[in-house]
Amino acid sequence: MTARPAPWSGRRGVIIAVAVVALFLFPFVASTYQTQLLTYGLALAIAALGFNLLLGYTGLLSFGHSAYLGAGAYAVALMLRYWGVSSMELFLLGGIVFSAALAALFGVVCVRHTKIFFGILTLALSQVLWTLAYKFFWITGGTDGLRVPFAKLTLLGGAIKFDGADAFVKFIHSYYYYVLVVFLVCVALMWLIVHSPFGKTLQAIRDNETRARFLGVKIWRYRWLAFVVSGTFTGLAGTLWVPLNGLTTPEILYWPQSGKIVFFAVLGGFRNFLGPVVGAVIYNYLEVYAIASTEYWQITLGVILIVLVTFLPAGIVGSAIRIYEWLRRRKEGRA
């Protein structure tokens, strides 16, 4: 008989508390470079969190989430270039509004379809955006992109600025905590969403659309709302990512970027709430070290993906939980 895994839930609070404390202490024990890497990972983890609301909880596989990552990034770059905005809080607001509006528009087109048709539509729309970023080069900077130098950024309403000799180190350490807090808020918010009546309704639609319809649920409306929330989280990730990168180009909108987000979810395990989050952080390290060690880094990542899908379909977190449950049952059996 399959039941809600209560014993795992009992220890979950302790594990999460330890992880949060470790994340806050990380810059004290790690180098600036490692802190920077983890900041990237945490920003991308927000995208994974948003993406998985669609895949893991609504049963819709998007191949076009690069559109929202790019929307968040370009919102920052355009606000900086054309309006002279420097406040990160205003960038967050702009990134959220821009990506939510884009997801609302694209969602209307996509959510009336499911499975491969949904996937193809999301991919096509993201590619339209990628093309626009190239073609409207007088606005977007074309292939050169738009620069977002950290030195022009201010945090907490201008209270934290980055100048002087150690500006970069100061930026990385301050920005790490900034991203970490936003990340934790996003995790808490998404946890609330997936455990709300709305989140349960999405899971019901994923499991059995017909039955959900015969409970009076307007299926496309819920899918659309999930799409908008998902796109907004991903846009927020793009907004946080771009000051780290210092530049946004059309590459952020290109389809391999969407593939990476899918990879995050598969790597960590999309049937687990924190799976894609862990997947995003680990993928970020994998990519960086694979690029540093071989020019054939894509092959390395490809092999990892094949091994994962073949031997660990539940992903890293899903498999870890299965192993834990197996060990627990074995221990109980012996007792």
Binding site: M1, T2, A3, R4, A6, L192, I193, H195, S196, P197, F198, G199, K200, T201, Q203, A204, R206, D207, N208, T210, R211, A212, R213, F214, L215, G216, V217, K218, Y222, L225
Partner: protein, 252 residues
């Protein structure tokens, strides 16, 4: 008796097949009615038309004299119609409690609540647990629906439809695919809950022992039309029913 549901000259064709052929169907308030017939008689199609799973080619459907023929599924649920399915339709990766709670959230129009924990809605969770108790599934509340035995799945399927608190509940073969012992248990539970809740029920059923034991009225369908309509004893003795449906041994 007041007619809760009425259909007028309802037609539905699939190619050359007349699945429902000019049916005038009446269900009275408070009845426990069985709809019987051989495979392909048009029973499920009739229920599909009434529940908006299909649209009719012609004819009208009324609930308490309100024309619902072209209302959407959601609007028909608001009008008081709920149904279960021939093949069990559950949310397998949600717990038994969540399956039922979801129906209550939907009924109470709370499914769009996004920043509140579902488990913290004491009214909904309390009612869900109470209903699980009525259906004998309370000790399974934390089990994932996909992990239930077939008989329990059938019961939960009915419970989910019942949780919408409909005026008229359609149950499509609630005992198919379960053992004889489980059939009796399921029907005892369903009949008891439905009658206590004063809900009008229409049950599609093949097992004539079940039909005769639990029904107030039996409607027999054959090739898209009504062959007979009456109380169980009358149906048992009807020569047309004997010929087309029951076989000689039952009428003895």
């Amino acid at each position: 008796m007041t007619a809760l549901l009425r259909t007028e000259n309802l037609h539905k064709r699939f190619g050359d097949t007349r699945a429902v052929d000019g049916v005038n169907f009446t269900v009275n308030e408070g009845e426990f009615l069985s709809l019987v017939g051989t495979n392909g008689a048009g029973k499920t199609t009739l229920v599909n038309l009434i529940s908006a799973f299909l649209l009719p080619d012609s004819g009208r459907i009324f609930v308490a004299d309100r024309d619902i023929t072209y209302l959407s599924v959601e609007e028909r649920i608001r009008a008081g119609i709920a149904r279960s399915f021939q093949l069990v339709n559950l949310f397998d990766d949600l717990t038994v409690l969540d399956n039922l709670a979801l129906a209550i959230f939907a009924r109470e129009r709370k499914t769009s609540r996004i920043f509140r924990l579902a488990d913290r809605d004491a009214a909904v969770m309390g009612e869900a647990l109470e209903l699980l108790g009525e259906f004998g599934l309370r000790d399974k509340s934390a089990v994932f629906a996909g992990g239930l035995a077939q008989g329990e799945r059938k019961l939960l399927d009915v419970a989910v439809a019942y949780a919408l608190r409909p005026r008229l509940l359609f149950l499509d073969e609630p005992t198919s695919g379960v053992s004889t012992r489980d059939k009796a248990q399921i029907m005892d539970t369903v009949s008891s809950v439905v009658r206590n809740g004063k809900v009008t029920a229409v049950v599609i059923e093949h097992d004539m022992d079940v039909v005769f034991k639990y029904s107030d009225r039996v409607v027999v369908m054959h090739e898209g039309r009504f062959l007979a309509d009456g109380p169980p004893e009358q149906i048992r003795r009807d020569p047309n029913v004997t010929t087309y449906l029951l076989g000689s041994d039952v009428s003895e």
